[in-house]
Each structure stands twice: as structure tokens, then as C-alpha cells.
Amino acid sequence: MNAWLYLHFPHLLLDYQLALQPPELSAVPRALTQNHAARRSVVQANSAALQQGVEVGMAEVLASTLVPELKLHDYDAKRESTMLTQLAQVLYQDMAQIVLYPPQGLLFEVQSLLRLHQGFAGVVTRMQARLQQWPLRYVLSSGYSPLSAKLLAASGYAVLSDETADVKAAINKLPIEYSGLPPAQIEKLRDVGLLTLGAVLQLPRAELGARFGRAITTYVAELAGELLPPQHFYHPPDRFDQQVELNTEVHSWTQLLFPLKRLLQQVESFLEIHQWSTRALVIRAHHRSGPATQVPIQFAHAVWQQRDLLSLSQLHLERQKLKQPVLALSVRVQRPEPRQAQEQAMFAAPQAQTDSLNALVSRLQARLGESKVQSLHVHDDWRPEYQGGLKPWQAKPTTTTLSLQRPYWLLPEAQPIERQQWQLQWGPERIVSGWWNADTVTRDYYIALDKWQRQGWIYQNDKGWFLHGWFS
């Protein structure tokens, strides 16, 4: 029974950076280098570079001589660890118990998921399907203890099996260099001819301890799973504010679409984990100098799926201009809210229609601007210009039906008219209101016909006659 899975990403930082770019850019050979004992060597390389002969551990000089067009960047363990955390959040949708092994590894406890995913193979398929969404190179291995799974995955001798015997066999064959022991210790073991882990494990433990120190007995116990060091299980954060660095300066929003897609994919998994949805995002583009360009994005209805988030954000971004080149992009989720359960059966039809109306309004607002999409409102006020109005769209229904004849159109401002041109039909209706603030109204309203026989809503006050609305 193998209770642990370990996921190792040998080229995490580079792969992740490439995942944020259009796929055609991955064809360029790229590598990450790091200072290592006074020489600069390659630590990660993409497949294009590997095919042309670049190897991990190769000196930078050699690599760039071999492949002149090789693009080199600096390796940064801190950024890699951040990415690992972001990946943990993505995988948390399928796996309950995750332990971070920064900068490149994730450990999963599978025992508790066997029933949910129908056995060991089910868990593995599930995880592989999730990883498929990301173009990352990974090694997945099972193990009867956290350490055994980790050693097999990190060494590349991965075993995916439910049987403890398979893992044991692989561990026994594992060269001592991959044991994860301190280099001095490995040296000592090799000196006495112990070239594989199996050879070490065959020896009686007491003897091993006496000869090589207490540390190795702890190691053997940990490998066997008898000693479990405390594991810090990952808990997803309840806020989402993540940033991705771009490899090159970007000058337009269209070029930012690809990294944005990835970020929104993470937003979706964040919202999915918590069973939340959101009505607002803030997208920020960070520049070399000066404040970041902020684009707040509002949705008229709560969304959580990447494709909805993306299509609405895209409409918003079409209206934006970038003044400076962008170095990094970040997305923050604002006001996440629990998802509303939607009734399924009997009264589903009207609900579905409102939802889709909200979706339409979101689309219109995104492209035209929020203030341009409006809804009609009635207020408790006798002054006509306050009684009804247009406001930025709100989905709340107003249910009052008024019992007074009112025009269907209201002019933004009353127009002065010549009384002789109008033929009074009905009235007066006196409206005196608003004495409590500066906007006092004292008017006599009439319905009257103009020379075209149109019905206007006109009023008289101490300043004269005015046209205020139309019946049409």
C-alpha cells in the first residue's frame, strides 16, 4: 500500500514562465543559469535547448557556445517557490493533503482520497488530467513513505504503483548519489562499497548507526516510514492577489492576453476551492517606473469560470491604453461571495433568463462603460425629475405600479415654450414639493397639444411656461 505521491518539477521556473507566453515562443532555446561554486552553470533548460545539446549542469559559457541563439535568464529560487504555491492551489481542487517541498516538489497524501477517486489509479489519473492544463515537465512517483516517494521522483527513477514491493525494488536499486544524504556521508558509504540504497538497507541498523553515526539510522527509519517528520499541510489562502513576471517587456494588451489567461485559470481554481464567485477583479500592469496601470473590472453577475472571466475582461481591456511597457501582470479578486444555489426544476425558466440578461448587461458594460447601460427607476418623490430616473444597471426589480398618468418621456431639462402654440387638454395638476431642500417645486401641470398634435406635458410656474415631457 503506497500512501504517498510526490510530484517533482525539474524545470519549474522556466516551464512556468513559458506557460505564460504564446506557445510559439517556446520553440526558442532557453535556459536558466545560477552561480555555483564560482562558475555559472545551467540549472534549467527548455526542450528546444535540450535537443540541441544543452545539459543541466553544463557551464554557461559552454552552453552558449554550443547553441549561440540560446536565451539565458537568471534562476531565482524565491520566484520558483511562489510558483509552487500557486500550483498547489491549482492541485488543491483534486487533492486534500498537500505538503510543499520548495522550490520544486509537492507531496500528496493519497490514502484519504482512495474512496473518492475509486482507488489509486483514479487518484493518479485525476492528478494527471489536472496537470495536463499546464505545459510543465514533471515526474510523479509513489512511495510507501514521504521520503521514498520524494527520492524516486527527484532522481527520475519514478515508480507509479500501488504495490509496496515495486517501490521497495526501485529504492533498492537507487544509486547512493540520489539518497539525499549529505555529500560527506555519501562519500563514506561509497568508500566502503555501498553503491546503492539497497546495499545500505540490507545492513543491520545497529551496525550502521555505530559505523556512520545516528543520523543515518534516523534516515533509514524515515525512509521505511517508521518515523514520520511533522508535515505542514497546505491551506489555500482566502485572498487572491497574484502576480506573474514577464520575460520580456510587453507593449499591448493583446500580448498580455496569454499571461492573463493563466492567471484567470488560477482565479478559477481559487474560486472553485472555496465554492465562491466574484463580481469584481482588479487587473494591474506593472511598469519599470511609475505607478502600475490599474483596470478595475466589474461584472453585473457573479462569475467564476475562466472563460467568462476572460471574455468580460477582454472587453474591458479593449478600451484601455498602455502608456508604458509592462514587466509584470497581477490580478486581485475582490469581494468573493458564496455561490448562489440555483433552483433546478420547476421555476427554472425565469431564473435562467435573468441570469442571461445579467450576462448580456455585463458584456455591454464591459465594452461601453458602466454608466452607459442603465435601468429605469421609480422613487418616492413628487417632484417629476426625482420621481423617475435612469441609473447604472441594477438587477433589482421595482414592482410599484403608479396610479397616476405620467408622460413616457421626460426631457433632461424643461424647455421654455410659447403658451399660444399649445392647446390645453387636461389639467391643472398642482405639484408643490421639495420645500425641505433647495430644489423646491411649485408647478401646475397640463397635458397639451402642440401644432403637430403631439401630446406634451407642460407646466406653468412663476417663471413662465415649460415643456417637461411627452406622451408618445
Partner: protein, 214 residues
């Protein structure tokens, strides 16, 4: 009826056909009653589902909204108003039993964006009718709207001033509205029939009562 031989040939080819009240293949349910019997009778049953209709008004506010009120006041009708000439007034519309939360108003001075909004609404299944105020739509714009309306079986109304030259447009119906004592409608174009001369339409029942001039 026997035609001369040449005409018969054209009929055979389908290049010539006879004007008739209602072609057999158009079923009744494809029409949505306009709420005005006199107009329904002339349009073959009402507004054709999936059509863009043009209302040419001699002056704004002569009763064009009243003509559409029976349709808009149906409880299930959701409508998008694009660029109305002045503010639609909620208390008055509510008095006419319009569902206020089913009316979406878009004010967009940019013509391209306004048309985009109308097209989006026709493509969405949340909207039943689109009202668009526009001075003069190009043939391309009308065709695009007509395609969107037909694909989704929606209704669109374009309210526009009287058009001087009779340029061809893809509208299904073109009505010319004029007011003397009451509103009269001239049908410039309709599906399945010839243009018709002006006839009075009783839309005043949806407006405050008029007193006869003394």
C-alpha cells in the same frame, strides 16, 4: 388562370410570382400581434418573428412608442432601448404596465458601439425586442441587424425620421407614421404584399384622452 407563354415561363422558373394575402408556408404562429387589429390585418398577423422593422416618424413623439406599448407591456417582454431621444420616464411607463426591471437603456453616442450593443442584444436570448433610435442606418447595418434578428427570432424596431429617398434596405416592414387628428400609418414595405396607403391606427387609446377641438 392562363398567362401568356412568356409569363408562364417566368412563373415556372420562380422569377415571377403572384401577390397574395398570405403564402401557405408561413404559419400563423410566426407572427406576434402588434396589439392593433388594423395593423395586424395588414401585416398578415402582426410583427413577423425575427424581423427588423422601420418606423419612420414625421416628428418624434407623435405616438411611435404608443404603437409599441402593447408589445412592450407584455409581462414576459424584455427590451433593450438604444439611444432613445430623451429619457424614458419610469413613472409613465410603469403606469402603462411595463416591467421596469426588464427594460435596459443604453446611451452610446458612438454609432458603431450602439449598433454593436443592438446586435449583442439580438444574439442574446435574454432580450425579446430591441428599440433603436437612429437618424439613418446604412444598408450594411440593417442587413447585419436583420441577420441577427432572424437567427434568434427576435424583434427589432428602428425609429428614424422620414427618409427622403427610397433606398432599398433589408427591413422586413417599413412604416411611415404621420399624425393629423389621429395617427395614420402608411406601409411602404411589407412581407407578402404590396405597399399600402395610409390608414388610421387607434394608438390614442394608449395615450391620454384627447378632447375634440371645439
Amino acid at each position: 388562370m392562363a398567362y401568356p407563354a412568356q409569363v408562364e415561363a417566368l412563373v415556372q422558373k420562380g422569377w415571377l410570382w403572384q401577390g397574395q394575402e398570405l403564402p401557405a408556408h408561413k404559419a400563423e404562429q410566426q407572427f406576434l400581434s402588434s396589439g392593433w387589429a388594423e395593423l395586424d390585418a395588414r401585416l398578415g398577423g402582426g410583427w413577423l418573428q425575427g424581423s427588423v422593422n422601420e418606423l419612420q416618424v414625421q416628428q418624434p413623439f407623435i405616438g411611435e412608442l404608443a404603437l409599441l406599448l402593447p408589445l412592450l407591456a407584455k409581462p414576459q417582454t424584455t427590451a433593450l432601448w438604444v439611444n432613445p431621444p430623451v429619457q424614458p420616464y419610469a413613472p409613465g411607463l410603469s403606469y402603462q404596465h411595463l416591467e421596469l426591471h426588464q427594460q435596459v437603456v443604453v446611451q452610446e453616442p458612438d454609432e458603431k458601439l450602439a449598433l454593436w450593443a443592438a446586435e449583442q442584444a439580438l444574439q442574446s436570448n435574454a432580450i425579446d425586442a430591441v428599440l433603436l433610435w437612429h437618424a439613418s442606418l446604412s444598408a450594411t447595418a440593417v442587413r447585419r441587424l436583420q441577420q441577427a434578428a432572424e437567427a434568434q427570432q427576435k424583434l427589432a424596431f428602428v425609429i428614424t425620421p422620414w427618409q427622403q429617398q427610397e433606398e432599398a434596405r433589408a427591413y422586413v416592414t417599413r412604416l411611415q407614421l404621420e399624425r393629423a387628428d389621429s395617427l395614420s400609418i402608411r406601409i411602404l414595405k411589407r412581407r407578402f404584399g404590396w405597399p399600402l396607403p395610409a390608414f388610421p391606427c387607434g394608438v390614442d387609446s394608449r395615450l391620454p384622452r384627447r378632447r375634440r377641438a371645439l
